[in-house]
């Protein structure tokens, strides 16, 4: 399974990155207006995006596939600063390492790889740590002072650790769900 990727795989990578981003943006837009649910984004979006990721890595089981997805999603998420891109690339490389050897129990490996990869959703939240004032200013412009007060009460400095934890849990649930859906729908339909 260590064949190099060809152009067909690049097309799949781009298309799945588009899917990933559209679903992520839709989820953030649906849930972004409530501060508590906004902070739960890594969990919720992680669960929703699990099937996409699992289908992607079972459709393109080659070296470098996850890294391309990580770079593309990181580029989209890094509108504030370069940090989300760096996190996404680091996480992508880690997930690649988990999946270098695809022998053995592939399902468990998929779950581990996705729960690592899902940490990239924490990227935009690093703003809370590095550019807190600016984030609060921007949110005050959008949603009003009330929203800012609630957000800042909810986010002490250690919130990032909680978010990473949530991301990992979301990844575990999402990947398990993805494996199930994969077996139920895609393998029977012959898409994988």
């Amino acid at each position: 399974m260590k064949k190099k990727m060809n152009t067909k795989d690049y097309i799949f990578a781009g298309a799945f990155a588009a899917l990933y981003i559209v679903i992520l943006l839709a989820a953030v837009m649906l849930f972004g207006f409530n501060p508590i649910i906004y902070l739960m984004t890594p969990l919720i979006a992680g669960i929703i995006l699990g099937p996409v990721f699992i289908l992607y890595i079972s459709k393109v089981p080659k070296k470098g596939a996850i890294l391309i997805l990580a770079i593309l999603t990181g580029l989209v998420m890094s509108s504030y600063s370069i940090i989300p891109l760096v996190i996404a690339i680091a996480v992508g490389i880690l997930a690649e390492l988990v999946l270098t050897n695809r022998k053995g129990n592939i399902k468990v490996k998929n779950v581990i790889a996705y729960s690592i990869f899902n940490i990239c959703l924490v990227g935009p939240f690093t703003m809370l740590l590095f550019a807190r004032d600016q984030f609060m200013q921007t949110s005050a412009d959008y949603y009003g002072q009330d929203y800012v007060d609630r957000i800042s009460a909810l986010t002490p400095d250690w919130i990032l650790l909680v978010l990473v934890g949530l991301a990992i849990i979301g990844g575990l649930i999402g990947a398990t769900l993805g494996n199930k859906l994969n077996k139920k729908h895609f393998e029977q339909a012959g898409i994988v």
């Binding site: 781009g14 899917l19 649906l30 929703i48």
Partner: protein
């Protein structure tokens, strides 16, 4: 003897002035950063007018009218309200306007990147900059695929409404797994078909030969490109340093 050959093929010009994709990408990034970071009026005017000019240049008439009306109209309304002192009465309306206006230039620039720039232009730029094919091809596909997917999502939601299933935040909270299954699985299956077709199209275009590829579109930076990049960076520096 190799004679200098003039290019035989001409492409239909979609815009008045040719602006290279790299400039568009830079302006796209800069405009979204400026709109998100600084709430200053000057920045909004500059970014708005650049985006409007881009739309006009790309001959997207409907888009440019709507954009100019929405963007500058709400700006003017806010100014008028400030002058007449009725700002407080309509404060909620202006908050909504603010949110819409912040994302408008980004959406407009995205429209230009995705719909008004051809794939071969992108590939020419990436080739010149020595960016590997792995990134170039997948990036172009991603840009082109997002509008298609939005259409798919809308169609799937319509189809679900026929069966009296309305998926919103409340429904999602009640039945998370079912709503994922009902939204994501059809999307994955329908886009899987589109992907197969896309890769077949790429094969017929010879993307998969494995040789070094040449491009027919030449990549050059014109004076207009430099002007736009300089204006963008100056605005960025001025707003970040001054305010």
């Amino acid at each position: 003897m190799i004679r200098e050959r003039k290019p035989v093929l001409y492409f239909k010009k979609d815009s008045f002035i040719d602006i290279s994709p790299i400039t568009k990408i830079i302006i796209f990034i800069l405009s979204s950063i400026i709109m998100i970071r600084s709430g200053s009026l000057l920045g909004e005017w500059i970014v708005g007018s650049i985006a409007a000019l881009f739309l006009l240049n790309a001959k997207a008439w409907g888009w440019s009218y709507k954009f100019a009306l929405l963007f500058f109209g709400t700006l003017l309304l806010e100014e008028i309200a400030k002058l007449t002192g009725t700002e407080q009465t309509f404060s909620l309306f202006f908050v909504v306007c603010n949110v819409v206006r912040i994302f408008l230039p980004t959406i407009a620039m995205y429209y230009i990147l995705a719909e008004k720039t051809t794939a071969s232009e992108y590939l020419a730029v990436f080739k010149k900059l020595h960016i590997p094919d792995a990134f170039a091809v997948s990036f172009v596909v991603m840009l082109r695929f997002i509008p298609t997917l939005r259409e798919h999502l809308q169609n799937i939601r319509k189809a679900l409404v026929f069966r009296n299933i309305r998926i919103g935040p409340m429904y999602f909270m009640k039945h998370p797994i079912i709503s994922i299954e009902r939204l994501i699985v059809p999307m994955l299956i329908s886009s899987g078909k589109v992907m197969e077709e896309l890769s077949a199209a790429a094969m017929t275009r010879g993307l998969d030969v494995g040789r070094k590829r040449t491009t027919i579109v030449k990549f050059q930076l014109h004076p207009a490109d430099f002007l736009l990049i300089i204006v963008g960076i100056l605005t960025m520096v001025y707003l970040e340093g001054g305010f």
